[in-house]
Symmetry: C2
Subunit: 481 residues, 2 copies
């Protein structure tokens, strides 16, 4: 997207700048290229440049910057890998972008306890590469190679949340630097605790607006003895959804259950040179012992057949599985590139699974009347699905059209008792939707924000609608009707 | 325990009393018997009487009382089934005890979505009786037949948290009446959401200090096709713990894994007229398909044998299983009744599972030197265990001795990176321990409490050490060194 200078920057004072230079030397950058990199995201939001980017390497660095920001009234936004979908790390009011990527040490693997202590800048792929030899893995997989700190901040999930949960379940405890520079620890390493308010879960999903995460203790899982994958295409959406619902009701512990519509399958076929049938398709993964997995596959196959599923194929071969999930993980990029040079926009509603077929079917009808190419894919076991728009960046009316479709989609999800965001967070684009969804609860969130960050230095303009310097309808899809 | 008049009661004004009488008629009680019932608990805390008990039947009732309390500066403490272990519902400063037990309707079972919407006063056994015909169950099982609202408020868990999680994972969303009478909804019914701060998890475990829960949406699970139980005794504690750790590392999805020491087994044998070997014993439960369960049992049996376990017995028969778990559920009462007329006191530490054998062994040595009968039992899959003291109520020095042992136990758990409470909460007895465990985090909790309940009307004197009108070392086990 076009790079824009931040509409209002706090413009660092000479004194603040001197303090930054004194401590960080070459680890602070004012170059436009670096600032641009930290001012944009992969999604459809316009860039906003920070005044400076600081590459922190320790908690002490974070504490130093936070104190400096409080003293000099400078805004502070943490930045991980830049893969968020709702502009969550765009420094809307300028100030400092805190690049966490060098805090990427894996501090301690506790294999017997199935947990690991990491710094926030480690990415999920790096973490899993590190863990593999010990027979353990970290399950949360949003597709992109996000940082663990960023994933915690947006309460990310992804393809295998249906079995292993989201970042909500995956984080056992955090170290967090508060707005005033105080570092706290939210929990110790016990698997469960009833010790006071659940600060861990409060920071998970708070998008860097309440504190800066400096360390995470994560729950791990043993790598399953057998991992099997399966693919099955359906004549109808309802048949696909019913297969997943019935599998769950039969107690099949699905590790992944992904739905891809005909448009997505076509995009994937072209993007990855594959030849799947271009119909509504389910991708499954099963984890367990050889006999348990065989039994799960058998049960799901039977259910799929009963629901009009055809050509159920499954495999225990790692290369076959890798091929399947590579296709799934690239589906976002494949869908964005339905037109070359296009910009992506992903919606993110999640509804009770019983309403999913209806929600997808209505959305599909809406898309069929649209002028923009759009694909549907989702985590059907959770009731969470995405519409991926492939937008022409030179045609602002397309952004408007996508915004209108997204607004209708959110309204549809809320009418089904669902949420405007299953896993991307509120960021810039869902602030009004959050109010529509939770009403007066948002006032409670504001009170907490004010209690913990009274000067509003942490990632200002995110989550809350109507804040000074906030998005407030500047972005399509976030307008009051 | 001896009933004591509240040390400081807020003494309802005539005006407040008239307002209560006007709305509630016979649903408000000032009788000493009713007040005493609501001023005590099953545990070792002295009673403190509320000024009145109000039996609410609706959200509107709760809103009315909350507004009245705010207007007249009356303290307000919610009361469920009175089964909490840390005096969590004792109205320390008098005021109104809000009896939630008549708000016990099961509002809606959504079988396809595996969730249910309930009022807070329904008990877990009533809920499961209601669900059985639909092939679903609510897994959280703290032993006592607590109310769901109380279980949410203390972040309860119990015997099958190792597989199904605690109330943290079980609650999908809440309706809560805030201190000023505003009712909010923390989440909609989607299985996951990234919409703003996780207020659901903030209220779960907040012990009624931030708001009064008026409705809960709970996650359910399909009743497994086969439920099998097993029992195995061990020569050593280490062998028992290693069996559970290795089972988890092998990916066995244990549904329950409970440890009972020799003293507990002796108490259970006498209490329930059974004849188990009086050694460290593991009780297991396995859930799944017939072949999956058979395989799990086989794996665990092999591991148990390798770790010195003897006489591994398992059964798929419901009556055999019922007998086993009845014994486990009665273990608390059996242990308390190691002496007739005794009062119980249960400790509640939870440590990383790798440290559990060491933690239990050191504790056992401490108990062997003590003058009070004490039994150990625990949820070994979570690293959570309890010492149950059987205290002579007429011997205050026993309370002192138990307090000293508990203080050492908490210190031991904290030194192993564990928590002072796995599932009972802070209540009256762990306020100092909470500070020892989480340090400055407690200040963050206080700021949240102040932001949401600025006048401090909700369950005052709980969780926080050093508050005016709080416990502050009045209770054994909660003293500054």
């Amino acid at each position: 997207m076009t790079a824009l200078k931040a509409l209002s920057t706090s413009d660092l004072s000479a004194e603040a700048r001197a303090a930054l230079d004194g401590r960080f030397g070459e680890r602070v950058s004012y170059s436009e290229a670096i600032r641009l990199q930290h001012g944009q995201s992969e999604a459809h939001y316009a860039a906003r440049l920070p005044d400076a980017v600081v590459f922190v390497e320790s908690s002490e660095d974070v504490i130093f910057v936070t104190r400096l920001c409080t003293e000099h009234d400078v805004k502070l936004t943490a930045y991980g890998a830049g893969t968020s979908m709702e502009g969550n790390a765009i420094p809307l009011s300028g100030g400092i972008s805190l690049d966490m990527s060098r805090m990427n040490r894996i501090l301690r693997v506790n294999a017997e306890d199935c947990d690991v202590v990491v710094e926030p800048g480690v990415t999920r792929i790096a973490l899993n590469n590190h863990l593999r030899d010990q027979g353990l893995f970290f399950p949360v997989d949003p597709g992109a190679d996000a940082t663990i700190g960023g994933m915690a901040s947006t309460r990310a999930s992804g393809t295998n949340a249906v079995r292993y949960g989201t970042m909500r379940e995956a984080v056992l405890g955090l170290r967090v630097v508060m707005a005033d520079g105080q570092e706290i620890r939210t929990a110790r390493r016990a698997r469960k605790s009833a010790a006071g308010y659940d600060l861990t879960r409060l920071f998970v999903g708070s998008e860097g607006t309440l504190g800066i995460i400096t360390e995470l203790t994560l729950r791990l899982h043993p790598i399953p003895e057998v991992i099997s994958s399966a693919v099955c295409s359906f004549e109808t959406l309802e048949g696909a959804a019913a297969t997943v619902i019935q599998s769950i009701q039969c107690g099949v512990p699905l590790a992944r259950a992904e739905i891809l519509d005909d448009v997505t399958m076509g995009a994937v076929n072209r993007w990855a040179k594959l030849d799947y049938p271009e119909k509504t398709t389910l991708f499954f993964e099963f984890h367990g012992s050889p006999s348990a997995v065989a039994e799960q596959v058998e049960t799901v196959k039977k259910l799929a057949t009963g629901n009009g599923g055809g050509g159920f194929q499954w495999s225990n071969l790692p290369e076959e599985r890798a091929r399947l999930w590579k296709a799934r993980h690239e589906a976002y990029y494949a869908a964005v590139n339905l037109r070359s040079g296009a910009v992506g926009w992903s919606t993110d509603v999640c509804v009770p699974i019983s309403r999913l077929p209806e929600c997808i079917a209505e959305t599909k009808r809406d898309l069929e009347a649209a002028s923009i190419p759009a694909a549907i894919l989702g985590h059907v076991g959770d009731g969470n699905f995405h519409v991926i728009f492939s937008l022409d960046p030179s045609a602002p009316q397309e952004m408007e059209e996508a915004a209108a479709i997204n607004a209708r989609l959110i309204g549809r999800a809320l009418s089904m008792d669902g949420t405007c965001t299953g896993e991307h967070g509120i960021g810039l684009g869902k602030q009004k939707a959050l109010v529509d969804e939770l009403g007066d609860s948002v006032d409670i969130m504001r009170r907490i924000k004010h209690a913990l960050d009274p000067r509003g230095i942490l990632n200002p303009g995110k989550i809350f609608f109507g804040e000074k310097g906030g998005a407030n309808g500047q972005y399509p899809g976030d307008r009051r009707p």
